[in-house]
Amino acid sequence: MSTADQSYFIPEPSRWPAVAVLGLFFTVLGVSLWVNDISIGPYAVALGMLVTVYLFFGWFGDVIDESMSKKYNESVDRSFRQGMFWFITSEVFFFITFFACLFYFRNISLPWLGGEGQLGESNILWEGFKYSWPVVNLPDLTGGIKGEYTQLIEPMGAGGIPAYNTIILLSSGVTLTWAHWGLKKGNKSQLMLGMIATIALGLVFFALQAYEYYHAYAELGLTLNSGIYGSTFYMLTGFHGFHVTIGTIMLIVITVRCGKDHFTYENHFAFEGVAWYWHFVDVVWLGLYVFVYWL
């Protein structure tokens, strides 16, 4: 090869993609068996998860080694950045899907069910169903084809925990940016302090969210089974919470790498990629707070 600046790094044959496929395959096969109460399901999921954990250590370990031995030139770095950008774009559309569903229910299909508009004569399906959001009294009070629904007692309010969580996530975005400034200035104590604060805020968010779920299930009658309000509430907040969890794990890994001085002023794509991801999760939460909790 010519000098490292000129040639694009092409990795040697690697086992990790095949391992990744194996891990995913066992996980999804296991889940589809598990939800049908087939007893080997959970074991297949466990196997798949183990393979996946092994995969992450292996694949990312290779990438870190390659990065540390300066195999990536500027062009490779651009590929990583663009790849991350398109990945987050696809994630944005994943969340847009769920928001679009929420708007569709609230502005189109539920008003119809409640007898409004040109197509509202379908109100004859469940006469007397009046639409208001959140839907407390479901159209079919007998429980429909699924049997009984959980009766919603009280919808989730916008004050209290959700408001705290908004402040927590927004401040975590600030501390992360502060840490990034520290990295750029070469100020390690600012970097580490900022990272640890960000992780701490992420964990507090997670804990509060877990408590909120417990509260909703135990006291508010707000469950996956309490009709469309519960369904959209848990789908949106649940997938967001899942992304916060992934983001927190990534932040922890990056903090450990910061501690080992893996990053320099020029070369810290891994840090920035995780930071973009965290800001993306942050923005999704703002949408959630406005449309799920508040309005």
Partner: protein, 533 residues
């Protein structure tokens, strides 16, 4: 363009044994695997089509149980869309894009391999979803059609869950492949190659990749909600709990309509190379063609509900979707004119890829005409869910997507294998497959207009003649692919040596770098970036 040097050769030998394929980070090997996978799936999906046509040879129940019949209809569609056309197009993208733009490989080679190997895993799940119905106690088969509409899809058995996760794996695979291709195109071009210098095929895949990044997550979200409705008590698609089954149709077709362009655009890209080559004239209106694809990309994303005119939308929404859909015929029609003007007064020859290209222009335009008929709401209410629709989308997808890929296969086989294919056999294959295709699907326009519904195992006795012509045509169409397989195997094994540029018109108007490499190209091409004149 001539200064292609290979200073280092120590990496030019491919690794030996299974690791070459399973652990590959080489765009050519991964491209080959995609293409071989697509070929295998073509025969699997084709065998299902043969069973369907055998069943429909006569009215009444012949060989298949109605639920099994509908499951085969479901899997035939999913296999042909996700297992044949998309992998074949991705295989060509893998093989050709880095060579066309002068890149050493794809931007993210390891992720590239993962995109491919997810496909066999998904295929295993898909075939299991078909087979579990033979195990007692697993519920009804997936008799929903590939659209997986609830409430039926909430009620069927274990097969549905396996299919939901098949869709997830396919989605992850497509998103990763698209991220890789788009990044490669944006970041890996040889110094001096501008976006507006790229061969049309590269542009076509650029828009395809963008579309997939946008639409696959929506389908993933939709089937995830389906899974939750099936097992965790949510009410997304259950009106009794405040949901709406029609919402799934919106999510599905927000994915499903752009998916048509995902299947179509790579073939249009192939046309943009094949037609200038064999007309020996530069492409007429290269820039407008790129813009038309951009317009198609935008319009494709916002007209999905023309698949659902009968669901009871508001008048305003119906009008919007109708007008938007009819507008799509403008960029598509202009593209067709561009291709025709490219041929105008060219010095044309009719090798197999060119024959396919001309057939596409003719037969795909036919699908365009029936498409406008279907876009018109009052007319569509009559055609909806009849064999007219089946005829329409097979005319759109077989010439539009599959024949485009055949043209690509014949166009690039010499480059891939280093051998010329047998031109005579290629032409026989072309005439056989084109005539058989028309014999299969042309009569379905008539049975559809006469009211024969789709996705039903039995039919009224008045449709017998049309269906028998269709079935005989289908068997001939299926058989023609054995010849296709034979031609490919023969070309891989040997034949006349192909020069670096097997078609004398190949470089006209397209500054792609693929023809500057020998046929077959070395294992690693462009380890140092080539210099453009």
């Amino acid at each position: 363009m001539s200064a292609v040097t290979h200073e280092e050769h120590h990496h030019d030998e491919p690794p030996k044994g299974f690791k070459r394929w399973l652990y590959s980070t080489n765009h050519k090997d991964i491209g080959t695997m995609y293409l071989v996978f697509a070929l295998v799936m073509l025969f699997l999906g084709g065998a299902m089509a043969m069973l369907i046509r055998a069943e429909l040879y006569m009215p009444g129940l012949q060989i298949l149980d109605p639920d099994l019949y509908n499951n085969l209809v479901t899997d035939h569609a999913l296999i042909m869309v996700f297992g044949v056309v998309m992998p074949a197009a991705a295989g060509m993208a893998n093989w050709m894009i880095p060579m066309m733009i002068g890149a050493p490989d794809m931007a993210l080679p390891r992720m590239n391999n993962m995109s491919f190997w997810l496909l066999p895993a998904a295929a295993v799940l898909l075939v299991s979803s078909l087979l579990v119905q033979f195990i007692p106690g697993t519920g009804t088969p997936v008799n929903t059609g590939w659209t997986l509409y609830p409430p039926l899809s909430v009620q069927v058995g274990l097969g549905m869950d396996l299919l939901i996760f098949t869709v997830h794996l396919l989605g992850i695979s497509s998103i990763m492949a698209s991220i890789n291709i788009v990044t490669t195109i944006l970041n890996m071009r040889a110094p001096g190659m501008k976006m507006m210098d790229m061969p049309l095929f590269v542009w076509a895949w650029f828009f395809t990749g963008l579309l997939l990044v946008i639409i696959m997550p929506v389908l993933a979200g939709g089937v995830t909600m389906l899974l939750f409705d099936r097992h965790f008590g949510t009410s997304f698609f259950d009106a009794a709990g405040g949901g709406d089954p029609v919402l799934f149709q919106h999510l599905f077709w927000f994915f499903g309509h752009p998916e048509v362009y995902v299947l179509l655009l790579p073939s249009i890209g192939v046309l943009g190379l094949v037609i200038p080559t064999f007309s020996r004239k530069p492409l007429f209106g290269y820039k407008p063609l790129v813009y038309f694809m951009g317009v198609l990309f935008v319009l494709g994303l916002i007209v999905w509900a023309h698949h659902q005119y009968t669901i009871g939308m508001s008048l305003g929404a119906t009008m919007y979707f109708m007008i938007g859909t009819i507008m799509i015929s403008i960029p598509i029609g202009l593209m067709i004119f561009n291709f025709i003007f490219t041929m105008w007064r060219g010095s044309m020859t009719f090798e197999t890829p060119m024959l396919f290209a001309i057939a596409i222009i003719l037969m795909f335009s036919f699908a365009g005409v029936t498409g406008v008929m279907l876009a018109v709401v009052p007319a569509d209410l009559q055609y909806h869910d009849t064999y007219f629709v089946v005829a329409h989308f097979h005319y759109a997808l077989i010439p539009g997507a599959v024949f485009g890929l055949y043209a690509g296969v014949f166009y690039w086989l010499p480059k891939w294998t280093g051998h010329m294919y047998d031109e005579k056999l290629g032409k026989i294959f072309f005439w056989w497959t084109t005539l058989a295709f028309n014999m299969t699907f042309f009569p379905q326009h008539f049975s559809g207009l006469a009211g024969m519904p789709r996705r039903i195992v039995d039919y009224n006795i008045q449709f017998i003649e049309f269906n028998q012509i269709s079935s005989i045509g289908a068997f001939a169409f299926g058989l023609s692919h054995l010849l296709f397989l034979y031609i490919i195997i023969k070309t891989v094994k040997g034949g006349e040596k192909a020069p670096a540029k097997p078609w004398d018109g190949a470089q006209i108007g397209t500054p792609g770098l693929e023809w500057t490499l020998p046929s077959p190209p070395p294992f690693h091409s462009f380890t140092t970036p080539p210099k453009l004149k």
